[in-house]
Amino acid sequence: MNTSELVKEAKHGSTAAQKCLFDQFAEKMLLVCQRYVKSPQDAEELLLDGFYKFFTKISSFTFQGDAALYAWLKRIMINECLMFLRAKNVFTIVTEATAEELPLQEEALDNLSAEEIFKLIVQLPVGYRTVFNLYAIEGMNHGEIAEMLNISEGTSRSQFSKAKILLQKLLLQNDIRYVKRKSK
């Protein structure tokens, strides 16, 4: 049974189809949640919340391909994570004055494996990590991020800059001298 049929069956309340969809996307979505929320327990809880919303709202979803379904599900998970973080009020500590614009050595990241990149991102503090995830990975602009996180655009920029600095430090700490390699 393909994804389209699964979605159709799940819309009619088929538990088996819901289970298949859950099995298909659960681990990927858990990784998305863990990129935003460090604690595995919290991430798992948010995953369940996200899937609960997904199955209760699936009747309003029009299937337009696997990618659209994945994007919709990912968006639900991200929203759940942001709601969780907003509730914790993690974005108020950062001030705009410390904002710096530094280039991110993305080539360095390209040479890393997916697991290494994931582990680096997870090491970032929650504020940096959230903005980095939204800007660098989800492709949102600072205006959208500011609106979503209920912060100013400047704060979003500063968070991203700090995230890049910290990420480079982490790369250096991990003894991965990509910058040096590039200069050679």
């Binding site: 538990t15 819901q18 289970k19 859950f22 099995d23 659960a26 681990e27 990927k28 858990l30 990784l31 863990q34 595995p40 798992e44 995953l47 369940l48 899937f51 609960y52 199955f55 209760t56 614009e101 280039p103 991110l104 993305e106 080539e107 990241l109 390209d110 890393l112 494996s113 997916a114 697991e115 990149i117 994931f118 800007y135 660098a136 990975i137 989800e138 492709g139 949102m140 602009n141 991203f160 890049k164």
Partner: protein, 236 residues
Amino acid sequence: MSNENPNNTPGWRNKLDEFEHLPGSSFNNDAAWDKLYGRLRGNKRNRKIFWYWIAAACLFFGLVITFLNYQKDNSETGNKETALKQQPKEINKPILKGEKPDKNENENRVELVKNKIVSTPNKPTERKLHIVQTEVTTKARHDDILTTDQAPEPLAKPLQIINTNSTATVIPQKKKLNVVHINELGDPVIESSDITRIEDIHSFKLKFGNGEVFSSSPVASKSSGLIILKTKPASN
């Protein structure tokens, strides 16, 4: 490389998107599904419970409305009854000749009385006894007497206790006496085939020593040949 342009997707982003499983993760897919399924089922159950509550509320309101209507009817009945009690003179006013009692009013009163009897079936009251003792000329009068609470007048004769459950609801009717042919002396004459009336002799007048006068109607018996004379006190 531009940091402000997130639309050009570098390789590391694609890598991250394709990353499906974190090694060493303790995530249990089935356990997570059980939790989620419990929530989803709970949601369905909650919906069912919600509809049950709605149904129960409707039933409750229906019962309440029925009960209130019933009470309202009762109170209206009580009001009518008290109104009747407050106007005893009018109720006991004798019906004059030619005066027609209001039929509707009387019917209402009969219903009131019936209701009252139904509500207290085990209490034979004195009021009901008056029905027996009082001469009821019309239906209206009878009902009026039933509904009044006035103390009964002392009666000369001892009251006859009657089972009011059956008698109070029955409206006494005027008894029509059967038309019976009787002879002048009061006893019915059984005219058998062997008795023939003597048409020529209509009556005799007898006078005894004490001066009383009797008349008789002669009847002849065919078998015995006797003439039967029956007597009665003659009217002056």
